[in-house]
C-alpha cells in the first residue's frame, strides 16, 4: 500500500497538468513539441502508405509486399492522440484503442522504428512482429494496444480503469474507439458497468464520420454521437477533435473527475479521416468537396497557425521540424528493412507465461 500512496502523491489533483487551458507555458517548448509529434504521425502514416503500395524486389527478382495485411491510417486525427498524450501519466494511466493505433502509439512515445518494424513484421517491432498494424502494444508506458475486433476492446478499458480504482494509484484509462464501435453491444455493456462501478475511465468515440465506408447518418440512428451515452448517467459532450487544446481541456476535465472518484466521462471527439478506412479503400463514398473542406480544418494546419499567431513558432521552425521528422521516418524505414524477421522457432514463444509439464508445439 506504500507504493499506492506514493503514486497517489505523484498524481494528486493539485499537481499542474501541462497546458489544459491553451495558454502557452515555458516559452512554447511544450507546444512546439506537440506540433512536432503531430507532424511525425502525419509523415509516418504517409510514408507507411507508400511502403504499403510499393512491393520490394528480392535478390532473386521476386517481389515481396513490405507491409502485409490490413493497414488503417490515422492521418487527419492527430490532434486526438497528441491531446491525450499531453496529459497522459506514463506507467500509471492506460490507453486502449481500436485498430487505427499507429498515431496513439507514436504520441505516447513509441519509436518510429519499433512502429515501422512492426508493420514490416520484424523481430524488432513493438510486438516482435506478432501483432502487426492493428496490434501495437507498449506495456511500459501503459499503451494496451491496438485491438482488431471492433468494440471488443471497450470492456478491456473498463477493466484497466477498474484496476486503477482497485489499486488506488490515481490512474485514468483513456478508452478510444471509432464511430463504428458504438453500435456494438460491448459499448453499451461497458459504459453501463463503468458508471455503476464509478471507475476512472474516459470513453471517447473518435468520430471521423464514417465506419469503414458507412457514414454516421447511415449507421447511427442518433447522429449526435455524444447523445449515445445519455442512458448511462455520466457526463457526455462533443469535443472538437481537430483542436489539440480543446482535446486537452476536455480530457483534463474528465481525468480529474475520474481521479476524484466521480466515475467515467464520455466524449464524442469529432474529427475527419483523410485516408480511406484501409489501404484498399478509395473513398468513393466521399464527395471531393467534402474532403477539400475538411482539409481547411486539418489539425496540423490549425495548430501551426495558432502557434504562429501567438509567436510560439515560426514558419522556418515548422519547416525544420518537417525535415527532421521526415528524416526520422525515412530512417525508420531503412532500419525496418534491414531488421531481421523473427526466427521461425519464435512462433511458439509468448503464448503462455508459465511452463507446464507437457506443452504442445
Amino acid at each position: 500500500m506504500a507504493v499506492a500512496n506514493e503514486l497517489e502523491r505523484k498524481v494528486k489533483l493539485s499537481a499542474p497538468i501541462p497546458n489544459g487551458n491553451g495558454q502557452p507555458q515555458g516559452g512554447g517548448e511544450v507546444e512546439r513539441q506537440r506540433l512536432r509529434t503531430m507532424l511525425l504521425i502525419r509523415r509516418f502514416e504517409e510514408k507507411t502508405y507508400v511502403q504499403y503500395t510499393e512491393p520490394r524486389t528480392l535478390p532473386d527478382g521476386s517481389k515481396e509486399m513490405k507491409i502485409g495485411g490490413f493497414c488503417h491510417l490515422y492521418s487527419g486525427q492527430e490532434a486526438v492522440a497528441v491531446g491525450i498524450a499531453a496529459i497522459f501519466k506514463k506507467g500509471i494511466d492506460a490507453l486502449v484503442n481500436g485498430y487505427r493505433c499507429h498515431g496513439h502509439s507514436l504520441a505516447l512515445g513509441m519509436s518510429p522504428r519499433a512502429a515501422m518494424a512492426e508493420l514490416f513484421g520484424r523481430a524488432t517491432g513493438c510486438s516482435k512482429g506478432k501483432g502487426g498494424s492493428m496490434h501495437f502494444f507498449d506495456k511500459e508506458v501503459g499503451n494496451h494496444g491496438g485491438h482488431g475486433i471492433v468494440g471488443g476492446h471497450i470492456p478491456l478499458g473498463l477493466g484497466f480503469a477498474f484496476a486503477q480504482k482497485y489499486k488506488k494509484n490515481g490512474g485514468v484509462t483513456y478508452c478510444l474507439f471509432g464511430d463504428g464501435a458504438i453500435n456494438q453491444g460491448t459499448f453499451n455493456e461497458a459504459l453501463n458497468m463503468a458508471s455503476l462501478l464509478k471507475v476512472p475511465a474516459v470513453f471517447m468515440v473518435e468520430n471521423n464520420g464514417v465506419a469503414m465506408g458507412t457514414q454516421v447518418e447511415r449507421h447511427s440512428a442518433e447522429r449526435d454521437l455524444a447523445k449515445r451515452a445519455l442512458g448511462y448517467n455520466m457526463p457526455t459532450e462533443n469535443v472538437d477533435g481537430n483542436d489539440v487544446d480543446a482535446v486537452i481541456a476536455a480530457m483534463t476535465k474528465a481525468a480529474e473527475r475520474g481521479m476524484r472518484g466521480e466515475g467515467p466521462t464520455f466524449y464524442s471527439v469529432n474529427t475527419y479521416r483523410f485516408r480511406g478506412h484501409s489501404m484498399s479503400d478509395a473513398m468513393k463514398y466521399r464527395p471531393k468537396e467534402e474532403a477539400e473542406k475538411a482539409k481547411l480544418r486539418d489539425p496540423i494546419l490549425l495548430y501551426s497557425e495558432k502557434l504562429k499567431s501567438r509567436g510560439l513558432v515560426t514558419q522556418e521552425q515548422i519547416e525544420a521540424m518537417e525535415a527532421e521528422v521526415q528524416s526520422e521516418v525515412n530512417q525508420a524505414v531503412e532500419q525496418a528493412e534491414a531488421d531481421p524477421n523473427p526466427g521461425l522457432d519464435e512462433r511458439f514463444d509468448d503464448i503462455l507465461a508459465e511452463t507446464y509439464p507437457y506443452q504442445p508445439k
Binding site: C126, G145, I149, P155, L156, Y166, T186, N192, Y358, P360
Partner: protein, 328 residues
C-alpha cells in the same frame, strides 16, 4: 481432511487464495448480495466486502473483458459464469483478448484470470443451458482448460488456477456441486495444472475421461468391468484438457494396447476426437484395436428427462465400448 461438498471446496479454494493475495477478487452475476446463484460464494461478500466480491449486471462481454483488462494490470480476477453456455456471447473477450493479448503484444502482458462456472448437461435445462464448452476453449492456444472430477480436485486445481499467470478456463458442473468428498484442509494443497491422474492402474485397457461423466458413469462402469467382466481397466482422469498430459496418456495406452475415451461432448470435432488425433500416431504400433470414443448423441440437448438421459454416455455404452476394444 474434511468432507466437503464440491461447492464448498471451490469456496475454500477462493477464500484461501483471497486471504493469501489481495489482488484476487471475484466478480459475476449474483456472486455477492445473493451469495451466488448456486451458493458457491456464500458468505464471501461479508468476509471481503463489495470491493472484492462484485455483483455484475447480466453483461458477460463487459465483465469478462473487465477481468481480462484488470489481469493485464496485475490483478488476479476470478470470473464466475452462472453457466458456461452463456459464454457464447463473450467468446470474443476470452479468445481474442484473454488468449491473444500475450502473443499479439510479443509477450509483454500476462493475463492471470480464471473463468469458472457450471459446464455441460445439467438437469432438464434444455438446449441453451447445457452446452459442453471444453472443445470450444481447449482448442485455443493461450488458454489453460481444466475440469475437476471430485471436490478435492476442485479445490486443488482451482487454487493452482488462481495462482497461474495464464488465463484458465475452469469447468465445473452444477450437477456436481452437491457431491461430497474428502478435501485436504492444508492451505498449501494444490494440484498441478497440465498433469493427468492415473486413478486406477490396470493392464487390459485405458479409459480416458474427465469431469462429471467420469464421476457419473465412468467410475461405475469401471467397477462393473473389473468385477463382472474381469477386465483390468487403467483409468486416467485427465484433469487438464490443455495443455494435455500426453506423456501419461501415451505411456498408459502403450502398456494396455487399448483405449476408450469418454466425454459428454458431441462426437464430431468434440473434445474426445481432438484427444484421439493426438494419441493415434504415437500409439499406433502398440494398439490392438481401434480407439473407441463414447460421447453424447449429436442432437441439441432435449428438455425431456428421459431423452436427456438417453443422449448421454451411459454405463452400458462404456462397458460395451470397452468389451469391443478388448474383443470380448
Amino acid at each position: 481432511m474434511a468432507v466437503l461438498q464440491l461447492r464448498e471446496a471451490l469456496r475454500a479454494a477462493m477464500t484461501e487464495e483471497m486471504d493469501r493475495d489481495p489482488n484476487v477478487f471475484l466478480l459475476g452475476e449474483e456472486v455477492a448480495e445473493y451469495n451466488g446463484a448456486y451458493k458457491v460464494s456464500q458468505g464471501m461478500l461479508d468476509k471481503y466486502g463489495p470491493g472484492r466480491v462484485i455483483d455484475t449486471p447480466i453483461s458477460e462481454a463487459a465483465f469478462s473483458g473487465l477481468a481480462v483488462g484488470a489481469a493485464t494490470m496485475g490483478l488476479r480476477p476470478i470470473v464466475e459464469f452462472m453457466s458456461w453456455s452463456f459464454t457464447w456471447v463473450c467468446i470474443d473477450q476470452i479468445v481474442n483478448n484473454a488468449a491473444n493479448v500475450r502473443y499479439m503484444s510479443g509477450g509483454q502482458y500476462k493475463v492471470p484470470v480464471v473463468f469458472r462456472g457450471g459446464n455441460g448437461i445439467a438437469h432438464q435445462l434444455g438446449a441453451t443451458h447445457s452446452h459442453r464448452m471444453e472443445s470450444v476453449y481447449a482448442r485455443i492456444p493461450g488458454l489453460i482448460t481444466v475440469c475437476p472430477s471430485t471436490p478435492a480436485e476442485a479445490k486443488g486445481l482451482l487454487k493452482s488456477a488462481i495462482r497461474c499467470d495464464d488465463p484458465v478456463i475452469f469447468l465445473e458442473s452444477e450437477k456436481m456441486l452437491n457431491e461430497k468428498g474428502e478435501v485436504p484442509d492444508d492451505t498449501n494443497f494444490t494440484i498441478p495444472l497440465g498433469v493427468a491422474n492415473v486413478e486406477r492402474q490396470g493392464k487390459d485397457v485405458t479409459i480416458l475421461s474427465y469431469g462429471r461423466p467420469l464421476q457419473r458413469v465412468v467410475r461405475p462402469a469401471v467397477e462393473a468391468l473389473v468385477n463382472d467382466h474381469q477386465i483390468d481397466v487403467e483409468l486416467i482422469d485427465l484433469r487438464t484438457l490443455r495443455p494435455l498430459d500426453l506423456h501419461t496418456i501415451v505411456e498408459s495406452v502403450k502398456k494396455t494396447g487399448r483405449c476408450v475415451i469418454v466425454d459428454e461432448d458431441w462426437g464430431y470435432a468434440g473434445m474426445g476426437s481432438g484427444i484421439l488425433y493426438k494419441i493415434q500416431k504415437p500409439c499406433f504400433d502398440y494398439l490392438d484395436a481401434p480407439i473407441e470414443y463414447v460421447h453424447s448423441d449429436e442432437i441439441p440437448v432435449p428438455f425431456n428427462h428421459y431423452l436427456e438421459e438417453a443422449m448421454m454416455p451411459s454405463v452400458d455404452r462404456i462397458v460395451s465400448a470397452v468389451k469391443d476394444v478388448c474383443y470380448r
